[in-house]
């Protein structure tokens, strides 16, 4: 399913995704600038596949997904996936496809909006995620919304001659710091 429009700060908003937004995903994902902590930069990157994928996501009751907009332009996506409605737990993820906009705080605001929505509207109990340990921007964005480290997975993937570890985080309503 897709989440509703959620207005944020500094020109950031979460929007219910459209099929046109989904067609941007392979264009973003194919670029080396966004691939350091994301991969593998191959696969079925066709528009037809994205149309099918869009329908599957729309029908799937175990995930919620948004397009991230910055100044009304789609720049990435975020969501909570594999939601278990008994445990009230899900795995979150975020992707900023416009590398020219890295460092503007867009991910931090999107994570804040997503996490707030998880507690206030979905009544989730816990959200968890995996982030490359070296991806300090993404890790920091999640930590600002209350994610705490629950472990580190060593040597998760090998890229450009180096092993990359992954940081495992978890968040709860009581760890969310937003004062409102």
């Amino acid at each position: 399913m897709f989440g509703p429009r959620v207005e944020g700060r500094n020109g950031v908003a979460l929007l219910p995704s459209t099929v046109e937004h989904f067609k941007l995903h392979p264009v973003w994902e194919a670029q080396p600038e966004v691939g350091r902590f994301w991969g593998p930069r191959f696969g079925d990157l066709t528009e037809v596949h994205q149309e099918e994928h869009f329908k599957k996501v729309a029908a799937d009751q175990t995930q919620i997904q948004w397009t991230i907009a910055y100044q009304e332009e789609p720049v990435g996506f975020t969501g909570i996936f594999d939601i278990d409605w008994v445990r009230r737990d899900g795995e979150s993820g975020i992707f900023i496809g416009r590398h020219d906009l890295f460092g503007k705080g867009i991910a931090s605001e999107a994570v804040r909006l997503r996490t707030d929505f998880a507690w206030r509207e979905m009544r989730l109990h816990r959200v968890h995620n995996w982030i490359a340990l070296a991806n300090r921007g993404s890790r920091r964005a999640n930590e600002k919304s209350g994610y705490k480290q629950m472990g580190v997975y060593r040597k998760s993937f090998f890229r450009s001659g180096e092993w990359y570890d992954e940081w495992l985080g978890e968040a709860y309503p009581h760890t969310f710091p937003d004062p409102r």
Binding site: G39, R88, H125, F157, L168
Partner: protein, 196 residues
């Protein structure tokens, strides 16, 4: 991938699942002892639904399912997922032994055989598993095999009116070699003249 072929242990055999196993799967998924210990593979359902599930699993490109047999009767099931072409590994997602057959060593025997297949035959670098932190029997098997914890999720699984933690573990090929490499092989070494 889909349905797993034969892997022989000493007491147990992991084998191709059959439609005749599905009633037993259903009874395990409805057993509160199993439900307390594990994440469910599927909820209890009508026979036709189980047949559909088996058909879907058989077609799956990454998931594999085995039935576990001992003395010609089914005593458990194992299911997991191979990761991807760019990240080789396997997540053991379900490993169920019939509660009537607990404490007979079937769990460890089948787990050891499965890991021999994954490390010695498939040549994977790493295998992972997530266990409820109070599942002492499963944790003991994992520790004996060579798993180590890399993360602990707090208040992850809900049952009996409360949450229980989850421990996330992995085992790599070095651990397999160190602990089991000298004694556990799928096949004997090739004869010196085998390639002449």
């Amino acid at each position: 991938m889909g349905l797993g072929g034969t892997i022989r242990g000493k007491k147990t055999t992991l084998r191709l699942p059959a439609e005749a196993d599905l009633d037993t799967y259903n009874s395990w998924m409805a057993d509160m002892r199993v439900r307390r210990a594990h994440r469910m593979w599927h909820e209890p359902a009508m026979p036709a639904t189980w047949k559909e599930r088996l058909t879907e699993t058989a077609k799956d490109k990454t998931d594999v399912l085995w039935s576990i047999a001992a003395d010609s009767r089914i005593v458990g099931l194992a299911a997991g997922r191979f990761w991807s072409v760019t990240q080789l590994g396997f997540s053991l997602r379900q490993f169920v032994i019939d509660p009537q057959e607990w404490r007979k060593g079937y769990g460890f025997d089948a787990a050891l055989a499965l890991h021999r297949y994954l490390f010695d035959y498939i040549d994977l670098p790493r295998v992972g598993v997530e266990l409820r932190a109070d599942n002492v029997a499963a944790l003991r098997i994992a520790e004996r095999l060579g798993y180590v914890e890399y993360a602990r999720g707090h208040e992850v699984h809900y049952r009996d009116g409360g949450y229980v933690d989850e421990t996330q573990l992995f085992m790599d090929k070095d651990a397999w070699r160190d602990r089991w490499g000298a004694t556990e092989r799928e096949y004997a070494p090739l004869a010196s003249d085998a390639t002449r």
